[in-house]
Symmetry: C2
Subunit: 104 residues, 2 copies
Amino acid sequence: MKTKKLERLQSAGWKVGNTEDFLQLSDEEARLVALKLSLTSAVKKSRIKRKLSQIDLAQRMKSSQSRIAKIEAGDPSVSLDLIVRALIASGATTRDIQVAFTTN
Amino acid sequence: MKTKKLERLQSAGWKVGNTEDFLQLSDEEARLVALKLSLTSAVKKSRIKRKLSQIDLAQRMKSSQSRIAKIEAGDPSVSLDLIVRALIASGATTRDIQVAFTTN
DNA sequence: TCAGTATATGTCAATAATGACATATTTGCA
DNA sequence: TGCAAATATGTCATTATTGACATATACTGA
């Protein structure tokens, strides 16, 4: 069931809400979260593939190691902008990004 | 040349920077901006296709009409998160999103 | 033309995301 | 094992993004 998935996300720290519009928003939110998660794993994959440490990647995109760690950990505080920036900075091609989008 | 493109983006209000790391970051920034722009036009396309007004879409995603206008106008203050949320809320399929990503 | 509807633009207080930092934990290898 | 490099986690002041609002402008049909 879909509830399982939401529980997982919620326990991971994602705000999924539980008011009367829970069912309304949950689907869209879940899609967004799923998309984010698939992109974050793409970041890690791309970074490893290019043999970059988190510090290396952080320097490339003028961020910090802890931020990169949070990106890859799927931390809810990380924006989609930052995730995609990381993807690009890690050397991912447009195709790689598309694939990441596909795999959600 | 690439400079032309950056000038266009800059004049549209995008911070593209002009310090010594201009050339370093410009490529990645430009890719991100291009991606955002292609997604914003996908939002408009999807919204129109479903015959939704900006107010309709705003209500669906609990945002405001002015925000939707800014999304579609490619306003630099709009995050990728919000753009993708709008895409999803407008009824775009995962495929639609992929296509938007492809067309950049 | 005009009225009604839709969209655009500017502003701002509230909120969310950020880099930086300290520090904890894990990993890999001699 | 033990050391060093890498990664993870928590916190916080600064900065970016947000919805809401007012209002301007564009569009459409009568």
